[in-house]
Assembly symmetry: C2
Homo-oligomer: 263 residues x 2
Amino acid sequence: MTDAAGAGEHSFTTDAFHRGGFFLVQPAKKGHRAGTDALLLAAAVPSGFSGRLVDLGAGAGAAGLAVAARCSNAEVLLVENAPEMAECARASLALPQNAHLSARCAVLEADVRLADAARRKAGLADFAYDFTILNPPFNPASDRPSPDALRRHAHVMEDETLIQDWLKTAGWITKPGGGVAIIARPQSLPQVLSGFGDFGAIRIRPVHPRADRPAIRFVARGIAGVARDIQLMPPLILHAEGSNRFTPEAEAIGEGRASLFGD
Amino acid sequence: MTDAAGAGEHSFTTDAFHRGGFFLVQPAKKGHRAGTDALLLAAAVPSGFSGRLVDLGAGAGAAGLAVAARCSNAEVLLVENAPEMAECARASLALPQNAHLSARCAVLEADVRLADAARRKAGLADFAYDFTILNPPFNPASDRPSPDALRRHAHVMEDETLIQDWLKTAGWITKPGGGVAIIARPQSLPQVLSGFGDFGAIRIRPVHPRADRPAIRFVARGIAGVARDIQLMPPLILHAEGSNRFTPEAEAIGEGRASLFGD
């Protein structure tokens, strides 16, 4: 469901998620719009989660609000650096349709890559959160071979250090025993695993568009300060063979009726 | 099919693989015996492979002989450090049942962890192989939680540096453009990806005992000296739901009628 709330390049839409469980104000331009990634990331949080959760790279707030909608005892901080998107997140919280969630949610306009004192000053305190979810932006240019190999390499390197910097921030702001979850592309698996160095009880769930195709994403979840252990979970298949509809599991996850790791 | 060829602690058996396609002489003691891991690793080699292949940690020769049996233009070097197992590999090659393969196979008794001049002197020359397959032994003690946390940590660390040392050797002895494949446990994914740093076109295939259970192994394959790229492939499921029989794909792979990456 989309209502155009303006016209021209800076127009916005209000879109329903979780079959009307919450709404997002988003730029009408396609590039910034929230979708499956944010909902998959949100699903990494156990359904019984209760406590403070921070959504790093929140955009208009899709992942964080999806957690707030599914976990009625979650307090959610949406952290976004792009002013236009932080404004969308604030507008999302101001929607009357989100009144049942807004009291548990807040927006912080800050750069996730800030470190140490600068990070604390920006509002991201040490060991302050029970769960951190990360949806690092990636450069679409690094997704496809470019005729300019050097430029492509630069894009890939940018993505790689970005993931490691974001996970460093996650390591600092997540309480010992707290959860950390990230969604990323398979090519970023080494950076994610390297950045997960201080987390244990790691669960990785590959996400395949169809059962016979390579994964397009994976969601990794870890627990801060517990023993190293890695499990590769059965994949999530988005679409059934010969169909454009979501599989029952993907639909349940996308609508906030199920979690990704069965807890 | 097993024929006991001796008695007592040092007895050996001769076992058929690939439904009689090749045979292995193995210690009758269970701990050393070849099984699914070696056959899965062998299946990472494309069926049309032609050239020199080296099997690091060959044991009695299961993986290397499985490649020789499936790829009629492969020349296979079995590298094994444990004298008893190298002796088994030599006995395997001497079996009349393996006469159709033996001319293309040889055994080298050497330590895969040797570096530089010592490695070359032992018989593993720089950039000499078109394909390297690795089945690093792992310490079964690190597979299960031990009441002695320090001891368990030591075992895990041992496994981790072993994988990285073995992959360093693979990087040195594999030709640019040649393949490298390894089978390992999910908990070793960070070490494998870190050791695969110089390889590209990486394909990872998780191996699950059943569709709804976490992976017990994964096979990773890369190409030396090509651009970085990682794909997470659909999993291999070993057993169908409610059955102890292999799935058709696992059976085809185990019998040398199919490859793991469909090439």
